[in-house]
Symmetry: C2
Subunit: 451 residues, 2 copies
């Protein structure tokens, strides 16, 4: 028979078993952490009707969308989790209780040009809080706590959550009578890190028709920095000139005020006036999260406050605040940077049982007992040499191997070898289980990420 | 602005938060149970190149496949998890260690005609053990144990795992010199439950050209029943007439022999000679699982032994054994039958904190402390009436509500109401946490399914 050469599409992540275990551990951490803050899991279809999915217009992403016909239906694969959320909340509005807090970890699809580290199918891990008509600023203050707990539980230490408020920015541009160009100016200023202040100034005074003086004011404003209190007190000097600015400053003060109660250490947080987020729909606090040793990666967790989640589907005013982690890209980058902890147990089983008797019943009964005790157990019953079976445990990193021969069965004991130390015990099954569980507890304390 | 009416495509399951929590619990149970047997999680792309995915030919499913063009690429959504597994094992053969045990819980796509209870996007939950060249019968004997633990952990009691062996069937038809028509005969016999023995006999002697005598032998063979030992001893009477039959009988004896050691109670298991499984590639033990009170649903977990997983991709002989649960359909059916336990905690949080002071710091600090202790906590800081906030907890089934006013803060205590009993305590935070955790432990013991 002629064979088809198997391949996986470029831009689609397909992991080997060990890294997959690490990915699963990350997802479990995200699920658990998001749950601690009262977010409920959601799962929406990967396919939507194109008219529904593209009601807002796809903008830049539109040409990246996987869109196709099936029978009479014009279908598209989702390209983010926000549009499906807007649809979900509008559609099920009467069945939901607000504020509605949901997390969703799911695959999204964008047919981008394939390049290293760019994915066409990738996981996003999103949380959003949606209010009905109103949503208190306390929700915006809580987001840094969620980001902080998520990344520190994963094992990251050197990261910073940067926060700004769009009302401060919009208010500031109103003071300069530049409201009509504020979006464009912010998009330009957003590139400060990439292109430097001179080029920013050139674009401002060139294409955007801002005066030299105004450009200077803008650059001096966004260069305000220092610790949180320093930044906030410098911002105080602008107070009273624009009501939107004043409101934004109040909000920022509130977010900073509650950091400590939310358990976010000051060194993991910074007010950063250069952050605007490209998207137009953010209206309040905005967030970016950077790895201090890898600023080139850009933000690994971003989001913000918006006033109207679902205006394309409903007249209801649905303000919200949310953040998103581009999980597939983050995982890829962590791997590239050597930040995935290789000591983490990625074996498919905790124990490999090697039966040495022809009748497998005693070995099987022992496996059942181990499984009843929550120990992941594999029986190796293949016709292979003993050495090959040991090598199987070795290759997969299975931490314990149990041998069960006639002598052990007669004596009611179990021979158990800890692969790392080579230490071998002959104990009763219950004592063996106790020893293995203690060993596993010690072994599974490590986090997924190391720095 | 004109609005687009939001809708979800028919044939696509989109759950409200409470049932979604139940679905998540089921998935977690599957992940944990499969892991206990040494299966490692895998995740493959939902999109594959059409030539790779359809190398085998799609057969009946081919016209159901979501297939489309993106740029120059001819792409298809996966329609099961078996073809992607075959691709994965062939592609990554050199990086895998055999026997390779993987589980995968993922969405698959089939554009079937929409009808009640049929889904176009649905989860399959698969496990497979793949050998390199050979695979011991012990793996086939282990499968009923995995099915049993999975369904009993979910809370099902009245179910039965039915097992047959294709070698027994094929050997039997060889005895009758009907090997050339064995596949067709088995497909017909497979319909016995649906169309009855007379119609089966009519098809056999009609379309399939089987003699009256042979048809009688076939019907008498497949009507062998009773407890496992009775069936096995009746099968003994055929021994010695065909080597394949004899081998199948040996295998079946082995599967039955180890049941008890594997912890499968006899009442949950039956040898059933009518089971053949439609697919042609099963070559040994085959499995079906039926709910005793809902036989009309058909099998909720099926699979079997095959000799060649990936012959379209590789010359390597890769025998395996696997089972699959159609999770979305199962969940739908359980819901329809009222078998989803309504007492299971499906709230998004365990505790709702209602701050009564203007400064939220003490309430936030308490929330942080609860979360540090693994308690899922939501702060309700919206500008709403007290009664509305209580109603929020009530609607969502949040089991505990905490009030924190000036008096409590001054006294260093927390007022905590258990919503179900109405019982209210004023205790120090640590004691409150202890009480809540004990209550949650008691509350979370229920299983997802009730009968």
């Amino acid at each position: 028979m002629s064979k088809m050469t198997p391949r996986t599409l470029s831009g689609f992540m397909e992991l080997l078993p060990a890294p997959q275990q690490q990915m699963e551990r990350i997802m479990e951490t995200l699920r658990n952490t998001y749950s601690l803050y009262g977010f409920t899991p959601l799962d929406t279809p990967a396919i939507e009707s194109s008219d529904v999915l593209l009601a807002k217009g796809g903008g830049e992403t539109e040409k990246q969308i996987y869109r196709f016909q099936k029978g009479d239906a014009d279908l598209s694969l989702r390209f983010d989790l926000t549009v499906p959320l807007a649809k979900y909340v509008s559609l099920h509005y009467n069945d939901l209780t607000f504020p509605f807090r949901r997390y969703q970890i799911g695959k999204v699809y964008r047919g981008e040009r394939a390049q290293r580290g760019r994915f066409r199918e990738f996981y996003q891990a999103d949380i959003d809080v949606i209010g009905d008509g109103k949503l208190d600023i306390a929700n915006e203050a809580e987001i840094p706590a969620i980001i902080y707990r998520t990344f520190s539980t994963l094992g990251l230490k050197r990261f910073r959550i940067c926060v700004n408020n769009r009302k401060i920015l919009n208010g500031f541009y109103a003071m300069l009578s530049l409201t009509d160009r504020a979006q464009d100016i912010m998009r330009t200023v957003d590139k400060l890190d990439k292109i430097g202040s001179e080029k920013v100034a050139a674009i401002l005074t060139g294409d955007l028709g801002v005066s030299q003086e105004q450009a200077q004011e803008i650059l001096s404003f966004i260069s305000i920095n220092g610790d949180n209190q320093t930044v906030l007190s410098q911002l105080e000097s602008y107070r009273g000139r624009d009501p939107l600015f004043d409101q934004g400053l109040e909000e920022l003060n509130t977010v900073v005020k509650y950091l400590e109660s939310f358990g976010v250490p000051a060194e993991h947080f910074a007010v950063d006036l250069t952050i605007a987020r490209g998207l137009d729909y953010y209206t309040g606090t905005v967030y970016e999260t950077t790895l201090l040793d890898h600023p080139e990666i850009g933000s690994v967790c971003s989001g913000g406050r918006y006033d109207n989640l679902a205006e394309y589907y409903t007249d209801k005013q649905l303000p919200g605040v949310g953040i998103s982690i581009g999980l597939t890209r983050l995982f890829y980058v962590l791997g590239e940077q050597g930040m995935l902890n290789p000591d983490l147990n990625t074996a498919p089983a905790d124990v490999l049982i090697l039966p040495i008797t022809e009748d497998l019943s005693p070995a099987i009964a022992l496996a059942t007992q181990l499984r009843d005790n929550g120990i992941r157990t594999q029986l190796h019953c293949e016709q292979k040499k003993f050495k090959q079976k040991i090598s199987y445990a070795d290759k997969l990193g299975i931490p314990y191997v149990i041998f069960l021969g006639e002598d052990e069965i007669k004596d009611g004991v179990v021979a158990c070898k800890e692969m790392a130390s080579g230490e071998q015990t002959k104990l009763e099954p219950a004592a063996t289980i106790y020893r293995i569980k203690a060993g596993l507890d010690a072994r599974n304390t490590g986090s997924v990420i190391r720095e």
